[in-house]
């Protein structure tokens, strides 16, 4: 059973709900700090915590065979977190999903596979993918094999924010760019924010985007 922490407005009176997914090694408390930093008191925050503080044990670039069971478990944890908001009376069009790093990859993957959200924010993140693709190790993917992105959701009008550094040691720029393309092709409104230099972090621009989109919701 996943540990789930709550903060912000009560879900039965909140204007919106936001599910927050932490990065590897961090926990629910940490990512709730991001929620608090938004300064939006009318939003209900829910943060599930991965068992062992890790949504999966490897890089998200690892082959799908090893990733799939962990991704499935992560998606189920997000389902559960969203269900707590739905039972409180929030509708899917008033529920947004955000995550940092591993949590950001999971958030993007959830949005791409399930659809039906108000917005999704992948901070220092990219799509995991649905299966392994043809082709060998790719330097642009830090030597990992390419993945397929076979989603059949309608994402028309979904605001998608993806942030990445040009030399993010965890998230290859190419994967972030490919993820943006996948979402665009499915009709989403994509904001890809690329920060110059080496790094892996929640950026000011990412927080600004969250504030702007969630304020409109």
């Amino acid at each position: 059973m996943t540990r789930v922490l709550r903060a912000g407005a009560s879900p039965d009176t909140a204007r919106m709900g936001l599910v927050l997914l932490h990065g590897r090694g961090a926990g629910a408390e940490d990512i709730l700090g991001l929620g608090a930093a938004l300064g939006l008191p009318d939003i209900a925050l829910v943060a599930p915590e991965a068992p062992g503080r890790s949504w999966w044990p490897t890089s998200f670039l690892a082959p799908m065979g090893g990733m799939a069971p962990h991704v499935d478990a992560g998606l189920a944890a997000v389902d559960e977190a969203i269900a707590t908001l739905l039972t409180a009376g929030l509708t899917p069009d008033r529920i947004a999903l955000a995550g940092f790093s591993q949590g950001g990859c999971l958030a993007l993957e959830y949005a791409a596979r399930r659809g039906g959200l108000a917005a999704v924010f992948g901070l220092s993140a990219g799509l995991v993918g649905t299966s392994d693709a043809m082709g060998g190790p790719d330097a642009a993917l830090y030597g990992a094999m390419p993945k397929r992105f076979a989603y059949d959701t309608d994402l028309t009008g979904l605001p998608v924010t993806i942030t990445v550094h040009t030399q993010d040691p965890h998230i290859p720029l190419k994967r972030a760019e490919d993820s943006a393309t996948v979402f665009r092709d499915r009709g989403a409104l994509v904001d890809l924010q690329v920060t110059q230099g080496a790094g892996h972090s929640v950026t000011e621009g990412g927080i600004r985007a969250m504030r702007a989109i969630l304020n409109k919701g």
């Binding site: 990065g23 590897r24 090694g25 961090a26 926990g27 408390e29 940490d30 700090g33 608090a36 930093a37 503080r53 044990p57 490897t58 890089s59 998200f60 940092f100 790093s101 591993q102 830090y142 040691p169 965890h170 080496a198 790094g199 892996h200 972090s201 929640v202």
Partner: protein, 306 residues
């Protein structure tokens, strides 16, 4: 001559089960387990000490690993983070090796012109790595600093500057967080203390992943006695000298609420073990030696990363 504190001696924190903690600090952070002993107030719990290869003051991070510790969180009146110094030229390498092992970090952010990255230990404690210009062959050259989270930074700043001899070297405010940097004169490890104040409401709770106390250095027992007198006359009475086997300790609570200790450099961690074999055997103070069998039965076995 007015006496000054050279910097940190050690930081003591609380963790969950010991094996994950040991794997992280000896494996991931490449620290040496320099002492494996028990909590002198609770001998059924380990007390683990990590540091550089010699166990030098200013490199020592110690843990009480309580197997059933609930998760804690930092708040005002608590030390909220410790930062290791990354030697010159080593910062990008740290980022790469963390990425290779798929260990998340946040950063680099910039603090007083230095790059800082933050990772989380198995209990969620923030571990900061600060890029420095120090030359060293070690992957991390002991502590750079600790952060003390205060609801009002002025009284603590006064104590550190007026009594301990720290000087203000910077002041930054970003995103509702104010940070005053104080630095001990000289180039000892762990010379920096950041006093931090945040607008975000938060109530701290001692538990796994939080810092129990921070200890400053006294170079000798005589110097420690001086500090004791000086603190008492300044209105900060300390405990009597307590024998901690590897150093002598006095404690007091600073005005903001953080537990401060002043620990002596001698005798050090080689007092009861060969320097080449520090941390290998379970070391017990003499008073617990008669109960070694029973103590060893309740302590979980530990595996050090090689």
């Amino acid at each position: 001559m007015t006496r000054k504190i050279p910097g940190l001696h050690h930081v003591t924190a609380i963790s969950g089960p010991p094996q994950a903690n040991l794997a992280f600090y000896t494996g991931r952070l490449r620290q040496r387990l320099v002492k494996k002993t028990v909590n002198f107030d609770d001998p059924g719990t380990y007390h683990l000490y990590y540091g550089d290869s010699a166990g030098s003051p200013g490199t020592i991070l110690t843990f009480f690993p309580f197997a059933d510790a609930g998760p804690g969180r930092a708040g005002p009146g608590m030390a909220s983070a410790y930062a290791y110094a990354v030697p010159k030229g080593g910062f990008d390498g740290w980022m790469e090796s963390l990425a290779l092992d798929a260990v998340d970090f946040d950063g680099p952010t910039e603090r007083f012109g230095q790059r800082v990255l933050t990772l989380r230990d198995p209990d969620g404690a923030p571990v900061e790595l600060v890029e420095t210009a120090r030359d060293s062959d070690a992957p991390l050259d002991g502590f750079h600093s600790v952060t003390l989270w205060e609801s009002d930074i002025a009284p603590t700043a006064r104590l550190l500057t007026e009594i301990f001899g720290y000087v203000e070297t910077g002041h930054e405010t970003a995103g509702g967080t104010e940070r005053l940097r104080l630095q001990a004169p000289g180039d000892a490890r762990g010379a920096v203390i950041d006093l931090m104040r945040s607008d975000a409401p938060s109530i701290g709770r001692q538990g796994a992943g939080t810092i129990h106390h921070i200890a400053f250095r006294a170079e000798t027992d005589a110097i420690q006695r001086d500090w004791m007198d000086k603190l008492a006359s300044a209105g900060h009475p300390t405990t009597p000298v307590i024998d901690r086997q590897y150093f002598n300790a006095i404690y007091f609570r600073e005005p903001g609420g953080v537990l401060f200790e002043i620990a002596t450099d001698p005798p050090g961690f080689a007092v009861d073990e060969d320097p080449a074999h520090l941390g290998e055997a379970l070391m017990l103070p003499a008073k617990y030696e008669p109960y070694r069998d029973r103590i060893e039965k309740v302590l979980p076995p530990l595996q050090v990363a090689r």
